[in-house]
C-alpha cells in the first residue's frame, strides 16, 4: 500500500543542517495497522507528514497504491490526499466556528458531491464513531474524547484507503484513549483501512499489527 524507499529529510538553516530522517525504507501492506514510536524529536511526525504528502523528502521515493507521487502538482497532490488519505491529529484541529456535522463534511467539500450526499455520508461517519446525537454542537461544547471522535469521523467520511494518525490519544486520559483506539481497531478490522499511527504509548502500540521504532531519524526496529 505504502512503499518508502531510502527516505531522507534534511532541514537546512543558514548555518546548520539537521538530518531528520536517515534512509528510511518501509513497506506497509494493505489492511495493515502500523504504529511508529520513538522519543520526541526522533522524526516520527516528519515521517508521517511525508507519508501524508504534506511534506516532501529530500531524497528517496514514496509510492502510495503503486503510484509514484514526486511528479504531482500542488493541485494533484491535494486531490490525492483528498481521495486516498485521512488524517487524525493529537490536537484534533477542528474548526471551532463550524458545527460538528459541517466539520465532518469538510473533506467532501473538495470533491464533487451534493449537499445531500455530504450530509448523508457525514451522518453515517458520525454514527460509526457514536456521535450521531451531537451533530448540531460546536466543537467547544464537546469533551476531548468526543472531539477526537469527530476528527475520526472526518478522517473516514471520504472512505480513504489509508488513515494517518498523529498521536490520536496523546491529549486524552487512558479511558478515552482506549475508546478511540477501539474505534481505530474496528475500522481496520471491519473496513480494511490501512492505518499508520504515531504514538508515545507502548500499550496502544502493542495493540497494532506491527511496531516501528525510530531514533534520531533512523529506523531501529
Amino acid at each position: 500500500m505504502i512503499r518508502l524507499q531510502n527516505i531522507e529529510k534534511v532541514y537546512r538553516t543558514d548555518t546548520i543542517e539537521t538530518l531528520a530522517l536517515n534512509s528510511i525504507s518501509l513497506d506497509i501492506a494493505k489492511g495493515e495497522f502500523l504504529s511508529i514510536m520513538g522519543p520526541s524529536g526522533c522524526g516520527k511526525s516528519t515521517l508521517l507528514n511525508i507519508m501524508g504528502l504534506l511534506d516532501t523528502p529530500s531524497k528517496g521515493d514514496i509510492k502510495i497504491s503503486d503510484q509514484k507521487t514526486d511528479h504531482l502538482s500542488d493541485k494533484q497532490l491535494a486531490q490525492f490526499r483528498n481521495q486516498k488519505l485521512g488524517f487524525i491529529f493529537q490536537s484534533y484541529h477542528l474548526i471551532n466556528d463550524l458545527q460538528v456535522l459541517d466539520n465532518v463534511e469538510l473533506p467532501l467539500l473538495y470533491r464533487n458531491t451534493t449537499a445531500k450526499e455530504r450530509k448523508m455520508l457525514a451522518t453515517e461517519a458520525l454514527e460509526k464513531v457514536g456521535l450521531s446525537n451531537r451533530i448540531k454542537h460546536f466543537p467547544t461544547q464537546l469533551s476531548g474524547g468526543q472531539r477526537q471522535r469527530v476528527a475520526i469521523a472526518r478522517a473516514i467520511v471520504g472512505r480513504p484507503e489509508i488513515i494517518l494518525a498523529d498521536e490520536p490519544t496523546g491529549n486524552l486520559d487512558s479511558a478515552m484513549g482506549n475508546e478511540i483506539m477501539e474505534i481505530l481497531i474496528n475500522l481496520n478490522r471491519n473496513e480494511g483501512t490501512t492505518i499508520v499511527m504515531v504514538t508515545h504509548d507502548e500499550n496502544m502500540a502493542h495493540k497494532t499489527h506491527r511496531l516501528v521504532r525510530l531514533f534520531d531519524g533512523s529506523q531501529v526496529q
Partner: protein
C-alpha cells in the same frame, strides 16, 4: 462551497461585525462620492447650449432717479444707440441679474392642467439675447419688437420645461395661466423653444427655464447689459467702452466682465468642494483598506491550523486562497446588502432631487468599487495562506 463559507462567516458574526460595519460605512461614503461624480459627469456631457467667447457683460448699479417710465426708456435707448455705433459691438441685450455664470437665481412656478411645475428659472432678457449667446432655437422664434403689442405675454421656454409641460406634445402657441397676473386676464403664450443652457457652469444642470421679454417697466431695475463683441475687441477697446459707459452713467458704478472668465470661476467654485470631498474620501478609503488588509492578514495567522487542516484533507493552495478571498467577498456582500438598502432610499424618497438613474449608476459603481477594494485587500493575505505549509501549521500547537 459557498454555503459552507456562509456558515463559517455567519457563525463568526460577532467577530466579523466590526468588519461588516466598516465596509458598510465605506460603501455609504463611496456611494456619496460616486453620486456626485456621476451627477457632475452627466451634466458635463450635456451640450453647453450657449457660446460664451467674446461675450461680455456690463454690470451697473444705477442710482439715477427717473421721473417716469418714458424717461427710463429714453435714457437706455440713448445708451443702446451709443454702443451700437461702436463697430466692435455686434449685438447687445439688457438682462435681469441672473445672467449665465452668476450665483444669482430667480425662480417661479407655473400651474398647467392642475399640476404645479417648479422651480422654473425666470429670465428677463432682450430681443438680441439669444443672438449674443448664440443659443440654439429648436422651435418657433425668439422675441422681436412686435411682441410689445401681443395680447398674451410671449415667452420662450427651454427643452426641459417643454418636456415637463407638454411631454411630446406641441408647445408652440400653447397658453398657460400666469401666476404673476392676479386678474387672470393675460396668459402666457409659448412662442419658441430653445435648447437647454447650462448657465450655472459645465457641471450643473440647466433646469427648467422660461425667458421673458424685458419690457419698459422692467428697465428701471435692470442692471446687466450683455454684449457680443468682435474677436478684435481688445483691452484698449474695453477701456474705451468703459469710459464711454461710465461717462454716460454718472450715477452708477460700472464693471465689465467676460463670460469666459465668469465660466472658469463658476466651474471652479463647483469643483473645489467636490475635489476636497473626494480627497477626504480617498483618505478615508485608504485608511479603511489598510485596516481591512491588516485584519485579514492577521486572521490568516490566527487560522493557520484550520488552513493546514484544509490542505491536509485535500484543498489545494489555490483553493485555500480562493476560499479566503471568497470569504471576504461574502462578508462584503453582507455589508453591501445593508448599504444598498440605505442607498436605495435616496432615489425612492427623491432626496436632493436628482435623477434616479444617477443614484442607480452610482450604486453600481460603488458596489463594484467596494468589491474590487476588498478583493485587492484580500489578495495578498490569500496568497500568504496558500503558502502556509500544512506540515508546519498542523504541528504548531
Amino acid at each position: 462551497m459557498i454555503k459552507h463559507l456562509f456558515k463559517l462567516i455567519w457563525n463568526k458574526k460577532k467577530q466579523n461585525f466590526l468588519l461588516i460595519t466598516e465596509i458598510f460605512i465605506s460603501f455609504l461614503v463611496i456611494f456619496g462620492v460616486f453620486t456626485s461624480l456621476v451627477y457632475y459627469y452627466r451634466n458635463y456631457k450635456k451640450p453647453m447650449g450657449l457660446t460664451y467667447n467674446n461675450v461680455w457683460v456690463i454690470n451697473f448699479q444705477n442710482n439715477k432717479q427717473f421721473h417716469n417710465t418714458d424717461s427710463v426708456t429714453q435714457y437706455y435707448a440713448t445708451l443702446t444707440a451709443m454702443l451700437k455705433n461702436m463697430p466692435q459691438i455686434k449685438t447687445l441685450s439688457y438682462a435681469s441679474s441672473n445672467i449665465p455664470f452668476t450665483s444669482s437665481t430667480s425662480t417661479t412656478r407655473l400651474i398647467y392642467k392642475g399640476q404645479e411645475i417648479r422651480p422654473i428659472n425666470f429670465y428677463r432678457v432682450g430681443d438680441n439675447y439669444r443672438e449674443a449667446f448664440n443659443m440654439n432655437l429648436l422651435e418657433g422664434r425668439w422675441f422681436n419688437h412686435d411682441d410689445v403689442v401681443s395680447s398674451n405675454r410671449p415667452v420662450v421656454i427651454n427643452a426641459s420645461l417643454k418636456e415637463s409641460l407638454f411631454g411630446n406634445g406641441r408647445a408652440l402657441g400653447q397658453l398657460i395661466d400666469d401666476s404673476h397676473d392676479d386678474k387672470h386676464v393675460r396668459k402666457i403664450k409659448v412662442i419658441g423653444v430653445v435648447q437647454d443652457v447650462k448657465d450655472k457652469g459645465d457641471y450643473l444642470p440647466s433646469g427648467m427655464a422660461m425667458y421673458n421679454r424685458v419690457d419698459t417697466s422692467d428697465m428701471r431695475y435692470i442692471g446687466k447689459l450683455v454684449i457680443k463683441v468682435s474677436p478684435d475687441a481688445d483691452a484698449a477697446f474695453e477701456s474705451k467702452l468703459y469710459k464711454a459707459v461710465a461717462g454716460y452713467m454718472k450715477e452708477a458704478s460700472v464693471e465689465i466682465e467676460h463670460f469666459s472668465k465668469k465660466r472658469e470661476s463658476t466651474n471652479r467654485s463647483t469643483l473645489i468642494p467636490i475635489i476636497i470631498f473626494s480627497i477626504v474620501a480617498a483618505f478615508l478609503i485608504i485608511n479603511v483598506s489598510l485596516g481591512i488588509f491588516g485584519v485579514l492578514w492577521y486572521n490568516i495567522n490566527r487560522r493557520r491550523g484550520e488552513i493546514g487542516l484544509r490542505r491536509a484533507v485535500g484543498a489545494s493552495g489555490g483553493s485555500v486562497s480562493g476560499q479566503l478571498i471568497s470569504e471576504s467577498l461574502i462578508l462584503t456582500t453582507f455589508s453591501l446588502i445593508i448599504g444598498v438598502f440605505f442607498a436605495i432610499q435616496f432615489p425612492l424618497l427623491n432626496v436632493f432631487n436628482m435623477a434616479a438613474s444617477t443614484y442607480v449608476m452610482a450604486m453600481f459603481l460603488a458596489v463594484a468599487f467596494i468589491y474590487l477594494l476588498v478583493f485587492l485587500c484580500s489578495l495578498y493575505p490569500g496568497r500568504q495562506a496558500a503558502a502556509i505549509y500544512p506540515a508546519v501549521a498542523l504541528h504548531e500547537e
